[in-house]
Symmetry: none
Subunit: 232 residues, 2 copies
Amino acid sequence: MIFTPVNRVTTSQAVADQLIGLVRQGILKPGDKLPSERDLSEQLNVGRSSIREALQSLAMLNIIEIMPGYGAVVKEPQSSDVLRADVLGFLIGDSMARELLEAREMIEPASVRLACLRATSEDLERLKVLLDTHETTLTDGKPINEISARFHILLAEASHNQVVVRFMESILELLMQRGRKAELIPGYAAQELAEHRAIFQLVAERNADAAAEMLLRHIVHSAATYDMKGES
Amino acid sequence: MIFTPVNRVTTSQAVADQLIGLVRQGILKPGDKLPSERDLSEQLNVGRSSIREALQSLAMLNIIEIMPGYGAVVKEPQSSDVLRADVLGFLIGDSMARELLEAREMIEPASVRLACLRATSEDLERLKVLLDTHETTLTDGKPINEISARFHILLAEASHNQVVVRFMESILELLMQRGRKAELIPGYAAQELAEHRAIFQLVAERNADAAAEMLLRHIVHSAATYDMKGES
DNA sequence: GATTGTCTGCTGGTCAGACCAGCATGAAAA
DNA sequence: TTTTCATGCTGGTCTGACCAGCAGACAATC
């Protein structure tokens, strides 16, 4: 016999849910100012402490920003908010990294195929400039993780699909969070740049099949730069 | 002139940070019970309200679970907590249906291939139950949009990749928001169920190639049921 | 002896009221 | 016109109070 798992919702949770709902429905838009805590308390007929607990929670989720002496405003959602790396990054374990790479292997080759079809001359120019920056940064011996990730973002942008861009941003950001040991593998940095150049060349030639295949190989290579103990 | 970025940290934030730090450092392990709010209040020499705001925030982040009458315990970290599907939804909210469907065409066939490899008997059982529910709901003439989307979520879960599940959740939710006109196309509802059953069968048979192809066709069919406003 | 009931002390949930520090606005002073 | 400052707002924090629910100890009952 299964019994009802009594539905018990705390007041502050209810308030938080309601506010989140308002934001999601677009009734509260980024930049909008919320009523003061005391107003909310009166309007919703709950104590100010409940309101405060809800607002603090939303602030922790980066949904609102609370400014003392002024009020609370809805924040513009940031790409970096899709992950809670700042607080939860430490728990990105091996299984998570594997899942991220797996997802990347699904999306990125498909996205580069689109890029081969849709990349404009501006897209290609941006990629070219970045590759040159990559090279100078590399010869200067400076860290290249950011630039390397940027290449893949630009590649995704060349597919002219914002959804894919967002996904790639999220994946790369989480992978970066986990840390790379690219510098520890002799010669990898140079190989990475070479592979980026090769991919760029194939995209410029609109060779979708080859580009997708090259990219997939590149992902597999780069996978080795992430700590992946327990990998099968 | 830049002025001192005054160390403006709120007490409740400081408490939350400290608790998060304790979890990160492993001093507080999953399953551990935190001191009572009153104890914490006394030990840290801050008011109970500050403690509560901090704890509520941690609860919102899924770091702890608060049980009334018992206390607060550190939760086992879930990989699904790291990626916020809701924010992803916000970020890609303005994208056109075409982009969403395109992204889906990239991800879902690849994910169903994984599902063919990894689906457990429990996964298959869940899918089967859902399909039966789908059928009864359909014959009852009730709306099936939710159930239809749920099938694809379960399919993603069968791939045992939380990242993919999150992506599919975001995509489907946004597509649902855009509204479907499935009911307006005579016979489509029945066709959809039939295709779901066919896909399920192929997954159960571990026929990855056929399942991926069938799914792709299914996506193309269902694409016609979405409003393509903003389409070029 | 095993079950049931009850009492008591804990825990979180909520509220009201109070006080502080800082921002914003507008009136008064320069 | 510009500056000053008083006032009323806002969030930040604390305290004390009360409620509901859990848990353990213990007594009453079968």
